[in-house]
Amino acid sequence: MKQPEIQLVMGNEAIAGGLLEAGCQVVAAYPGTPSTEILQAVINQRDESDVPLHIEWSVNEKVAFEVALAASYTGKRSAAIMKQVGLNVAADPFMRTAYLGVVGGMVTIVADDPGPHSSQTEQDTRLFCMQARVPVLDPSSPAEAKAMVEPAFALSEKYQRNIVLRPTTRICHSRQSVTVGAVRTIHAPSTFTPDPGRWCATPAFLPGLHTGLNNDLAAIADEPDWQPRLTSGDGSRPRQALVASGIVYAHLLDLLDELDLAGTIDLYQVLMPYPLAPTFIEKLRDGYDRVLVLEETYPVIELQLAHPGGAGKQSGAVPRVGELTPDLVHAVLADFLDLAQPAQSVPAQRGQRPSLCPGCPHRAAFYAIKQTFPEGIFPSDIGCYTLGMNLGAVHTVHCMGACISQGAGFYHAYHLDGGEVPTIVVTIGDSTFFHAGIPALINAVLQQARIIVVILDNGTTAMTGGQPVPHLGVAAGGRPTKAIAIEPLVRAAGVEHLEVCDPYDMSAFTRALKQADRYIRSDDGSVAVVISRRPCVMDPVAKKARRPVTVIVNEECLGCGICVSEFECPAVSLNEELGVAVIDQDRCIGCGVCIDVCPAQAIEIKEQ
């Protein structure tokens, strides 16, 4: 058996270690920042388990949740993993699970992204859990997140309830020296016991189930191991308290230490922000006149406390938007304790914006779309290709799969007015297409929306670091599986105009777009699909296959800047002094697409 040892691990790896050490046997996830590395780390450590594990990258979060849920019905420990907006997708089964419960321990790990750093909202899963009536745990460090996993399973089994572990970006993507122990083996043969009154619960059964849920929540709130932890002050600041949870608690600890205030005021760390014990709420109400509540992102603890002297997001003492950084915590604490305000120091400028990688096939596709349809409407979606907005080829980005339905909505609205409808070109990545694009495509065909859907097929889930997609025939961890091709799915959805094209071939790709436009405007036109197919530049196989060419700017360059402003490749910039374009050879991968973009034939391949 492996001896416990200290290792430097990322929060997500720590959580994965916690899952394996707790004997979790079924793990399902859909990638999403900041949660992605959890499942990857489970895959990396799977050989340490004595019992077989089922690990999957599911097609979306709803599916992942349902797979883990049924595994729990058999008595096995299971986990579903997603980012916060993934829980929106899994909301339907998640809400009902609160009523029906689970059997084997089930932990749903939902990673929040206050800020947000890489998300379309900064919603708070703890508030979602309050609405769903699901207990939620809020760790303050990678080590604590790991340490919470086994007790979370135990709590789940004791009450037969799904438990949520909610790390945030600063937990997921922090590294810490953590004790890594042995993987635990639980022999739990699958035994599903049919119980129609529970697993099929019709409305007649629900009041009873709801009552059971309420009773369990009351008992869970009082669980001694999950009560807020008090670090008592020395009495120098009587009848005042600080209450914090998650990473903000860690910021607060360092700050109190640095300001020499540690141990001068009562400090509570809330481990389980929902449900809070009534005894805790009463204790704060009776024991303190003023309470500062620090939490991310919504006032979940503050709302439950409803303290008459409460200071927090509700009261306006704490900013309601964005991440609660150590600087903000300092300002808020200074205000609450009447200390000197920290000096304000605003960075001179914002950092460099992200952009599609040099050589990204999406850039070539976006450039062609924008050039072909300068007056077009361009709904897009979630992924690296959101960055097509830098090229002016992305007009809307909403949530996974929304672009196809939004494209259809644009069409129907313009069509009502009669006359010419602008060309609507939707761009959706391959992974997003499988996740939530297929029902939208069926609907668009059914409703006869005359739109062009460009599926940006780079053969991977690129934004999150390259997880497998269903048409590759590879499952989590490299296990071979049935490949589900995109083309037959598109045709089965009723699409009659389908073309596959390499976006690096600018003229062929442009031709395909024009043909698609003619089709959607023809008498029997409907949805046209163009698959833009070329592997992601980060793909290891594609990297190896790359020919080592050097792209240079010759003396024909006029300094018009089209390659910079319209094509927006990070490897190309304008030298203001010389008035010509220059190529950063450290970043250029030699795709050569900019050769077609230059109107002056000033970019060429340097012969070796």
Partner: protein, 166 residues
Amino acid sequence: MKQQIIVSGIGGQGALFLTRVIAQAAVDLDIPVLTSETHGMAQRGGTVISTIKVGDFASPLIRTGQADVGLLLWESNLAVHRPLLKPGGALLVNAETAGEGDRLDASGIARKLGNAVLSNLVLLGRAVQTKVLFCDEQTCVAAIRKLAPERFVEQNLQAFYEGLHR
């Protein structure tokens, strides 16, 4: 022993790897360590920052004016991340031109070794040479050996030594 370090760059420059090497050095010296990193969309060529807190800390993030050491792989990030450095803090910048801080054309040096991305370890070498970091040569070498993919270990060490002996 307490030290707060920032590593600043743009996505793709190897800021994450440099962060891991420094943090691993702390682990090997038996000092508690916490880091935070930038992942996700910003990694696509955008400004990234890692923080490393060595010693007895609870939070991985660094307040304004608290960093002891700043390692900047991308010079223009000075305008963004300069405020994190404390007055008198050590600042190392990968830059070809003269300006604030201890400057070194780490990318140029790395390019000669075959890959500009090695500038991260060139800068680390310089930081160790000027003794602004908590860790010494041996610890860094061990950490690089531990973390670099096997076929790149020698090249990575070469980059580190280039910075160390310059």
